[in-house]
Symmetry: C3
Subunit: 356 residues, 3 copies
């Protein structure tokens, strides 16, 4: 494991040292598990209770927490950000160091290769592809013809990229991802389906991360577009001609149907579905497993579903839900009865008043 | 890009030319983006507004629209079908032209290979497989032993087909698809699970398309069956012994549990779940993210879920939903009270009548 | 097909023979389809009707069914268990028989290889990996550096295992599975997302099966943990730092968000979603497509969702659901009115009583 002094870590992350700046740190761990050679962090107040007893060599924390810290510290108003910045120092993924192309990789002679690429065993790159500087292609990954991959982008093992796809710089594409597969387009004809060839490609801008086994279809005519800084978790599905705005994130299992436009800085929690041909404005947050079936025209938090219940209660709830129509009718009847009673009472009152 | 005259395109598609039949067309584009060398189409009335100002060389449209068309046209009652038929002319996927087998492909000597196959780098075909005429196997795709792949079927890169699977003719299987993996079958025994070997294979009939990263399990004893002309979108899951009827389509993320039989010409929208051991008759349409937990015995449109709401409203809705039981009880109380009042009133009326 | 006498099958499975113990059996089939050389089984009472007319050579069944059986039998109180035990005899997956390593496999010299491994074409195993005895690595599968795979574990074709992952003994990992991809962790910073390197690995204990195209992310600091005997179906997603207890099963399409702890012997039916940072105790059963958004602190069956309805009825239900708030208000109004009436009646009664 590489080692850094606290002073070096402060320099890299923008934090300030409290305590022995020459302390050597060899890794990151949780407050509970960290040893004296390791750094930990306190960001979520829920874990404050573990600060007192931590065996970490140093802790990343906010200024207000410093007084409670029994060991050295890296102090910064946003400890989680400092943790994120330093976490990369101990990442164990192979990087390009000089051009390394495994003998079993099959790269068409027409391919343009940048400097310092790392191309692992079994990789296949088809004609006219362009591979930027510092790109890493994991074992058995396939890159289609006329596809381009920007500088310092990493594709892990077993990724499939079709033809005419453009991936930007500093992107991370995890194993099993498929980019540029056909959009789902068919014309109905006499009870069968005539395929519509999908002629648009895919454009993925810079700093995008795509989780394992996610799929992004090529457009029908125009390309499908994933904006800058977008982060997609595992098993996300993006249909043809979808546009995902910059810095939007989608948790695992989200699916967006064709031609929908999602704004910037949106958050789709796990397993959200979005129907086709919709528009979602910037800064919308959709909670887990919700189904978006209409435009979201205002920023805000949106939800659907029924929440979880013990099965016996849920059965009652669903039974009642099915009877809502009848309840509504009974409510109306009651209101009518009450109105009649009141009219009658009023009439009787009038009669009495007349009599009086 | 290949070029065709309007006359040729009319011949291929069954449409009629209006205007200059010798006009050369080099591609397809939307009404808004098409250039003078390109063909566009008008099918959805929503896009009619773009017809007047289109820069396309020609437009595919219905007879009634011809009077509004400022350029040449291909006229047909079903413009979407004509678009589908012509779209393939500009598709840029490699096809077999003479037998081409990459030197790095590993093909067991016992494999039967048809004419004009295209087998890309890194492909592995196990013993006793049969590969039909004109089949394309994309890079790093794996075909299991005793599996057969029908004429003119294409498997894109990184597809995994297990043993004893039969795929028909003219099928398209996208990257990351897995066909023939074990069905999920276990016998419970003393708190653990004893695996049931899955001995059935998979039969996929002709003209089927399977989207990226979809999975189709092999049957327990009898095979899992995907009927003719079925179209599955990305990340669809078909469990063991499911039968999917001809020409049924499933959008992305659908999952069908074991032994369920789905009829012909059904449509499952995105992320629909279907429980096991059910029967769904022909011509059922299930809307997105619905959960089918009982047989669908009549053709029609089916739905579940709550729709989307702003989170604050949704919380209220769900709160009320949980109280439905209490509302029902209150409604019953009120009705009882009203009945008592009416009985009392009736009694009083009787008394008065007697008194009168 | 291998053949066994009924006596041998009884010996292997722990059942007792009824009838000719020397009968040769060459395979398994359903009661309806079995031929005289095949064995069938009766476990689900629903299929009892097929027993009388079965053409099977023998049937696995419970003692109580023996009197209705027209052919030989293997008798055991748990016929399904016997079927499971015997099903493996006819499975057609290749096993290691002596060390077989395909010439195209790329195995780093630092890798430790056990006895009798079967490594198919195109496999890539990175530095410092340890491959146990009897391990099978399917074609084009990739194993990351410093990853270990326990004895007799099988990875099918096109599996991707990242670095620092530990898979136990007797596991089965199906095609397209990704293990050890990055957890979805980012620190927000000025409208963008700063990646948190995921430094924990994954630990998968013995006897685990993982279905096709499932994904299991590596932990942020500590490892993600899949307990002994866990069975995951296809397209399951396990996020970083999730703990899945021993012998828990998840059907296809389940997704568990980060840091959630699921107990032992739980069952998650198809497409269940579980939110992050939750605890689910042992022996919970969650029905299909439910969304778990709170801790489940008691064993039991849990559900969410609305069930399926014809679309027209569903629209009414959802319309009513949205009006629940107004219904609740109307109910309250009515109750108030009734209380006023009763107070008035009481007052009038008092007056009358006074008058009387």
């Amino acid at each position: 494991m590489p080692a850094y002094t606290l002073a070096e870590l402060a320099e890299i992350s923008g934090a300030e040292v409290s305590g022995d700046a020459s302390l050597r740190i060899e890794g990151l761990a949780t407050l509970q598990n960290a040893r004296a050679s390791q750094l930990s962090f306190l960001s979520n107040p829920k874990y404050e209770k573990h600060l007192q007893s931590t065996q970490a060599g140093a802790v990343i924390l906010a200024p207000a927490m410093l007084q409670h810290c029994p060991v050295a510290a890296l102090v910064h108003p946003d400890p989680y950000l400092v943790y994120a910045r330093l976490s990369r120092l101990w990442e164990r993924v192979p990087n390009a160091a000089g051009r390394q192309i495994h003998a079993t990789a099959v790269i068409d002679p027409s391919v343009t290769l940048g400097e310092n690429v790392l191309i692992e065993a079994g990789v296949v790159v088809h004609a006219d592809a362009r591979i930027g500087d510092g790109v890493v292609l994991g074992a058995n990954t396939v890159v289609g013809f006329a596809t381009s991959i920007g500088d310092n982008t990493r594709l892990f093992a077993n990724v499939s990229v079709y033809h005419d796809v453009h991936i930007g710089r500093n992107c991370i594409v995890h194993s099993g991802v498929v980019i540029g597969s056909d959009g789902f387009g068919f014309a109905p004809h006499r009870g069968a389906w005539v395929k519509i060839a999908q002629l648009g490609g895919v454009i993925i801008e810079d700093e995008v991360e795509i989780g394992a086994n996610s799929t992004i279809d090529r457009g029908a005519l125009d390309p499908t577009l994933i904006g800058k800084g977008v982060k997609l978790d595992n098993q996300v599905q993006i249909a043809h001609n979808v546009v995902v705005g910059d810095h939007t994130v989608m948790a695992a299992g989200c699916a967006v149907a064709g031609s929908t436009q999602i704004g910037k800085h949106c958050v789709l929690a796990g397993k959200v579905g979005v129907a086709g041909h919709l528009t979602i404005v910037d800064h919308c947050h959709v909670t887990a497993m919700s189904m978006v079936i209409k435009n979201l025209t205002e920023p805000g938090v949106y939800s659907s579903g029924t929440g979880i219940q013990p099965n016996a209660q849920w059965r009652k709830t669903i039974g009642r839900l099915r009877q809502l129509d009848r309840y509504a009718a009974r409510l109306k009847d009651i209101e009518k009865t009450l109105r009649l009673h009141e009219q009658e009472n009023a009439r009787e009152q009038d009669k009495q008043n007349e009599n009086d």
